[in-house]
């Protein structure tokens, strides 16, 4: 079984981002960039499926600027076998990403595609579901557990009230939620080994895909700030304030 796993390069989890001075977009020049945390979980799951003998090959794919090679090298160091970068300008919209991934799927013929459920920059939470739609495949979005069979995959999903388990025909698309696994720490020898693994760069044209944008960002701003309130001495004072001042209890 062959697995395609996707990784996005985003502003690091711990970095605070600001609008550009003219408010036209997000300022990400000189911001530390890392692999999207949900994609790390996706890569980890693919590697575990290979380690348990369920998968034979893992291909990591990224879409974006040439620096995305860095996050692909991280995926290779985690255990992916080879990597493909589809080089584009600034980050395309989820639908365009899904179309490029569809073309990659047709080229590589994986049995399973694993993506992070959302990227922590745009917080869209769309690409996996869109890819499944374009392929006509089943989707296991927000997965917290996978059980791989011969023809099918059982996916346990995080839903608002608890958990739901679906059975999808293979090939299928899965998007990783937080509790699917805990990604491994990458060891130095694996980082060195990853430098020798194959990383192919393609253009959208190589995949016969034209990227059309349907969204224009007009403005990016910080939300109104919430003012800090007061410290109270103890529970008795707190209860008095909640009852008498703001009347919420």
């Amino acid at each position: 079984m062959k697995i395609l796993v996707t990784v996005k390069r985003v502003a690091d989890y711990n970095v605070k981002v600001y609008p550009k001075a003219d408010g036209s977009d997000v300022e990400i020049a000189n911001v530390k960039m890392s692999m999207n945390p949900f994609d790390e979980i996706a890569v980890e799951e693919a590697v575990r499926l290979k380690e348990s003998g369920n998968a034979t090959e893992i291909i990591a794919a990224s879409i974006g600027v040439s620096q995305c090679q860095e996050v692909l090298r991280t995926a290779l160091a985690m255990g992916a076998d080879r990597a493909i970068l589809v080089e584009t300008g600034a980050a395309p919209e989820p639908l365009a990403v899904a179309k490029l991934l569809k073309a990659l799927v047709e080229r590589e013929q994986p049995d399973l595609v694993i993506l992070g459920k959302q990227a922590i920059d745009g917080d869209c939470n769309q690409t996996g579901q869109m890819l499944a739609a374009l392929l006509g495949w089943g989707q296991g979005a927000f997965a917290s557990k996978l059980t791989l069979g011969e023809q099918e995959i059982e996916v346990t999903r995080e839903i608002d009230g608890g958990l739901e388990t679906l059975i999808l025909k293979l090939p299928a698309v899965v998007t990783a939620d937080l509790r699917l696994n805990e990604p491994r720490y990458v060891k130095l020898p694996n980082i060195i080994k990853a430098k020798k693994k194959l990383l192919t760069t393609l253009s959208p044209g190589d995949l016969d895909t034209v990227l059309a944008a349907q969204l224009t960002t007009l403005k990016v701003a910080e939300p109104p700030k919430r003012e800090a309130g007061i410290k109270v001495a103890d529970a008795a004072e707190l209860v008095a304030k909640l009852r008498n001042n703001v009347k919420v209890i």
């Binding site: 995080e158 007009l218 410290k231």
Partner: protein
Amino acid sequence: MKNILVIAEHDHATLKTATLNTVSAAQSISGEIHILVAGNNCAGAAAASTRIPGIAKVLQADAGHYAHHLAEDLAVLIAGLAKDYSHVLAPATTFGKNLMPRVAALLDVTQLSDIVGVESTDTFVRPIYAGSLLATVQCSAPIKVITVRSTAFAAAASEGGTAPVETVPAAAPLGVARFARQELTQSERPELTAARIVVSGGRGMGSGEGFKLLEDIADQLGAAVGASRAAVDAGFAPNDYQIGQTGKIIAPELYIAAGISGAIQHLAGMKDSKIIVAINKDEEAPIFQIADYGIVGDLFKVLPELFAELDKLPPA
């Protein structure tokens, strides 16, 4: 002018309240509003939809393969209907987030996630970077496919309307996914996203047993119990308690955060609460920067005291 289609989230018998918030977002666009209720024996939810004031028509699609709201099957139905609409809206719950990107891709249009504001028929405001920024985006797609953050729009009225119900034929099942089972958290407490008061714990709770203190206080207040991602990661609380960027987004009247430091990922899920109370032993914890009332102290001392004080309180 074309009309707006709202996709109802429901349990076949009744509507989920997030549907009412989504109707309210639709009302701030412009055009006639129709509601689609797709389910199995879902006449109850369809009837509830007809009673929402200002709805022009309720479409009901009833079929066995809609019993579990599989995105694969619902998306085909909705994409078929959507061609007659300018906007298709659903709540940004796990139901809507799973379904709407699939609908958009079938229509070959982009999708707007989690909108918190409507500027015009094609321009919307949505949070990015865990809500630390707000982006105003203009959408040129012929059909706008949107999920709506329910806390940003007041719930529409649920009684007083008399819309007609029109039956629409179900689409053929896609046959690529089937439902196996569901394990829902059983709780007597209100739903997190609908609760008036939420009592929430973080890594500072120290253990799952620590949450017992919060549960006692929640029961005194008729509140729901929530948790930070750190507490969920540590195994103190189930994931469906999680509040934040990757969990639930809530805006109750009162939010009590105990042992939560206030990471941006958590603030993303609760900073629109009306009154925020923080209890933390670290005076420098970022949560105090947004809290209306803060107590610096050991929560294992403060929470039992709070319980005792609430116990003494005469009914309001």
